[in-house]
Symmetry: C2
């Protein structure tokens, strides 16, 4: 197999522990003679030695690794969020193990199992299978395992959500100011949790006195296309739409256009998430921005707080959203 500390010890005629000492120069307490040090270092280098993560993890009980569970990478929201979280974790000296479930609940459990077996020190969940009653939820709760559920709001574990209300208020106000009297909301169908976006939408419409309609939509782009197509043909369709994600907004717009509508002339469309890709779409997407980079940083900070102090109480972090006006509405 790979080169070990024992190989180095043998080759340089010293004990394993001496090699270990040299290789972890940190041990300032005990010193090593310059001669041995140089010798060992040379041998280690010549042999292409690389410490074994598993051996170290086993004996230290630490992995400096976080787990991240997501359904897939299709949507730019997810891939940008994953990237943001990886970068943030890296900056704090942690690695991230990404696990994709392909939206299969069974696989989701396998992913969690695998992360736990690898002894990740904390878990970030972008999917929502973990909820009260669920075996893992109870486990995390009981063990005070550092986990953060994104876009959920249970109180036994830490969560990070976005206050959509402000964003939706701004969005509806913006549409009203542009003369729209009715707004449609394309929501994600079959959400197992409370649909905060939906609620925020309804409240915003009520507050601003504009008529509200909602349309259900699946999670694939094809669903989005079909919904756009259906809305375009509907008898009395609204003149503006808010879609639950930038990704889905592109699908919906595709469907709308297939029916000959122009954006934003015939239909104003506002997305949600604030993905980078929304900015180069045509027309550039007006969107309810959740601040992906900031969110990624905040969630990593949050989980690391728990990692560093397992007795810390769970936190429910709520981040603001704001309307980012571009050209699609």
């Amino acid at each position: 197999m790979a080169v070990t500390i024992t190989d180095i010890a043998r080759r340089s005629g010293v004990a394993k522990s001496t090699v270990s000492r040299v290789l972890n120069r940190k041990t300032t307490a005990v010193a090593v003679s310059d001669t041995t040090r140089r010798l060992v270092e040379k041998v280690a280098h010549d042999l292409n030695y690389r410490p074994s993560f598993s051996a170290r993890a086993l004996n230290s009980g630490k992995t400096r690794t976080l787990g991240l569970v997501c359904g897939d990478f299709q949507s730019p929201y997810v891939s940008e969020m994953v990237a943001a979280e990886m970068v943030a974790a890296e900056a704090r000296g942690y690695h991230v193990l990404v696990s994709v479930t392909q939206w299969n609940p069974e696989k989701e459990l396998q992913c969690l199992e695998m992360l736990l077996e690898r002894r990740v020190e904390g878990i970030l969940m972008l999917t929502d299978v973990v909820r009260p009653g669920n075996e893992y939820y109870e486990y995390f709760k009981k063990e005070r395992f550092p986990v953060v559920l994104q876009e959920c709001d249970y109180s036994d574990v830490s969560t990070l959500t976005h206050d959509c209300q402000a964003g939706f208020d701004e969005a509806v106000a913006h549409l009203k100011a542009r003369g729209h009297r009715g707004v449609g909301f394309v929501r994600q169908e079959a959400k197992p949790t409370r649909d905060y976006k939906m609620i925020a939408f309804a409240q915003a419409c009520q507050k601003h006195q504009v008529a509200a309609v909602t349309y259900d939509c699946g999670v694939t782009l094809d669903c989005g296309k079909e919904v756009g197509w259906r809305i375009a043909r509907a008898a009395n369709r609204p003149s503006a739409l808010i879609v639950y994600s930038d990704y889905m907004a592109t699908g919906v717009i595709y469907g709308l256009r297939k029916q000959g509508l122009s954006i934003p002339e015939d239909m104003a469309v506002i997305g949600m998430d604030g993905t980078q890709l929304g900015g180069v779409y045509y027309p550039p997407l007006t969107t309810i921005d959740v601040g992906i980079t900031a969110t990624g940083g905040a969630i990593v900070d949050l989980v690391l707080r728990q990692v560093e102090d397992r007795n810390r109480a769970p936190e429910q972090l709520v981040l603001p959203t704001r309307l980012l006006v571009r050209e699609s509405a």
Copy 2:
């Protein structure tokens, strides 16, 4: 720390080895009495036992893990490719450790180091820092370490490239058939390796007798926007463009439009990669498709072939490309 096999042994009054036997029911050779089995299983379940990956890896010398190095996830090409590779690996019983370098050569080496320390059994490289002369290149070569370099063509290690020629030929022929007499190619600037796309483009233009121009472009979307903007204002610009990636094509189109051009009327644009997202762009992107899903599967198969037989000679796999006609050209 976590529950161990020893805890279970103690709690159920049997030896560690018995517990291990029960937990790895595979050991058909030696049997365990039904009573002990049930007892141990119950205790393990009650205690929420989870085997330690590190301990197993240490003891077996296997991790069933592949490493994957990429610059970032910004471009849909990368995120779709990473997803495809993860899914393919998963299907073959391997996990993928993703490591992002943020295009920083120094970090790239750290990523490799980290993957090697974790004893991944093979590495997939989407970036191109590993090349002859490079310390890691020599290491991989010498150790016959299972590694696949994507879009590079050295012969000491396995590589996977795409035969762009067919795709470019089709693309140029398509443009010519639509009446374009000159075609521009937006290439990635400062490629440290031979630029195959560039070469294929030049050949295709020569073959089809159309005038060729090339434009250099950085890797960020902003670079793409600026190049589009510059091309739009150029005195005698071509009427059609091929861009080195779908992602960058969206940036270029953005710039073109800022100058008032319509796509494809004022400028036909062909992207490259065949990303899913290109299909919902507006207008849907005509693109030179590399077949991301198939590529992901092929590359995982390739690296696993090497994993299973370290003495296997490196392979240079070349996959076909084809033109996917949509609406942008």
